[in-house]
Subunit: 194 residues, 2 copies
Amino acid sequence: MLKAMRVVILGSGRGSNAEALLRAQAEGRLGRARVVQIFTDVPGAGILAHGARFGVPATFLDPAPFKTKLEGEGEGRYIAAIAACQPDLVVLAGFMRVLKPGFIQAFAGRIINLHPSLLPSFPGLDAIGQAWRRGVKITGCTVHHVTPEVDGGPIIDQAAVRIEPSDTLEALAAKVHAAEHALLPAVVARLSAG
Amino acid sequence: MLKAMRVVILGSGRGSNAEALLRAQAEGRLGRARVVQIFTDVPGAGILAHGARFGVPATFLDPAPFKTKLEGEGEGRYIAAIAACQPDLVVLAGFMRVLKPGFIQAFAGRIINLHPSLLPSFPGLDAIGQAWRRGVKITGCTVHHVTPEVDGGPIIDQAAVRIEPSDTLEALAAKVHAAEHALLPAVVARLSAG
């Protein structure tokens, strides 16, 4: 029997992409990937409930002392806790902190991120809002390897979303999230196939 | 009877997008748009032959004294010759010169450009090569209004092209060009509808 690909998810929000991964796993659409742990840097984040629902440990892990990056003691706590999970893949699913080289090197080549634009367009925060304000007609989402350059690592796969004249920003956000929920499990399943 | 939308095309190369417009017009797919003149800044450019084939005047117009921009005497010649065509729309279809504010103001709101990427990704030269080297999985093409900022004007429409693992750079270029040949006539037809 082939070895499972152990997946750790990091997220800060409602966890809809973690949910998409867990549902895909429950439905047998995640290949050899197995989500073994979810960590969040936000106490009470919605992502925690998905872990409970799908029987996967989901834990708040203190990211202090910084607010927008993971460095110092917080970085040390995350590296230690994630390493203890022996992950083959660390998935950043709405993890709202900049990772520093120490973290990235600890899991080199094993960290992927989901970004809500067709990179290299609209890196950084509020990518959907950026696309909306620029008036593009096609945007989408990207799964990429994480390197020290924010949103700059090698691209693994992307999905396109068309912006219709009738779309509101909220409607666009819903379409991009739907594309994410399809793309991320597909990419993880493919990575698990080697 | 509704008035035709008079279109002037500027191009520097083989003119495949001018050909796509002329073919669409011949097949009744260009709405009220009518191509009345083609100008090129390159003596003997392939684009000239398409004019002859479709019965549209196609003329080399001296862009001197500059090599990569249209300024000074050349700009004056282009403004005068294009204005004499009384254009409702000036289409840049592979016109390889930077336009200056004098030209853009002369035809303000009436100049559109076709760019072979999903802007704002990969502005400037060799957009298809840029996308290829960055390793994106989705690229495409953009039709946008021309403003003094290169490749920065309001986007009118875009089309996406998926890059498959088996694609070569040449195969990708062919796919992007095919997307352009569909997008540009559709946009011009739509603009002619008001």
